[in-house]
Symmetry: C2
Subunit: 178 residues, 2 copies
Amino acid sequence: MTDTRDRLLDAATDVLLRDGAQALTLDAVARQAQVSKGGLLYHFPSKQALVAGMVDRLVGHFDAALTAAGETPGAATRVYLQASVEPRNTATGAAADRATAALFAASIVDPDALRPLREVYQAWQRRLENDGIDPAVATAVRLAVDGWWLSRLVDLAPPAPGLHERVYVLLTNLIDGS
Amino acid sequence: MTDTRDRLLDAATDVLLRDGAQALTLDAVARQAQVSKGGLLYHFPSKQALVAGMVDRLVGHFDAALTAAGETPGAATRVYLQASVEPRNTATGAAADRATAALFAASIVDPDALRPLREVYQAWQRRLENDGIDPAVATAVRLAVDGWWLSRLVDLAPPAPGLHERVYVLLTNLIDGS
DNA sequence: CGGAGTGTACCGGCCAGACGGTACAGTAGC
DNA sequence: GCTACTGTACCGTCTGGCCGGTACACTCCG
């Protein structure tokens, strides 16, 4: 069963988001996943392998979203916006948080683990630059989205609900009107 | 001399930006600052105190910038944009990198150390929302800027030089035209 | 004037504990 | 008998933090 594998990956992000990066230890992850430490090391022979696994999963999601985006102008930019930021402030955005967690974990434990992510991200950026709309608009929207989930992750003054929607509309209009 | 204190703070950000979060140890910081470990611990009795010091300094800069911004419409938003992102892609943006480093260090070592920063940031966000321009525009610009320095810090597909300027112009126009 | 004492800034060795990782014997299910 | 674990004992290293010193400037008192 790859079930346990996924549970371990989930557990790692849970620990990271709940207790902070400092607390991301093999013991803590194993405990969270209700797996023995031996079991964890059976699936991920090292901590690096664990965070590499987190990044891999993230890369997979990215790739899927990238290919799933349509061909109409602004399609990719819109997908990127919607994937990270719901129109309404549902405050969950679980997928985006998971992404950030993986990013975070990697940059702490093993910056090299980010390499595959960098490549997919670069591909995504290229896709945005050729999205049938002004590349500057697409890039600005992307950066805003990145800033958005960062602000939520670190809880640095994320836009209040009312403003949240207005910013979302603004970005959407930006995409449409270019 | 508070000279040594500042040198230690600088050393901490240097180590973090150069060698990654993993390498941010008391020994490494002391070595970088050419101070003994005892000397470090004289100024900062714990690692938490060290990152708290980093955040404090950042908060100070924020406060200064906040009061220094003028009163004309969009002044604060423009300051925020210019502080983090040079019009040309000078690739340095040292101040912004320093900010990120402090943020990073805090979220790893002691998430609670971010509290004072959260408050200043919230104040800054309020200031942006009352900047004489559409609050949604101000917020969107802010988020884009946040995303910008994040992309540079983690090296996740930061906009290429040519695009960099176009995005900068786009954001500036957004501020002016609202 | 001189000696004693006080506070600041810093040195550097050391230790306890945490953490990553190994090893290995055992087991439940297919 | 193989996969997918469990459970535990253990090791070496790294790291945060403590502590006993030292150098030195300054001050207070007789």
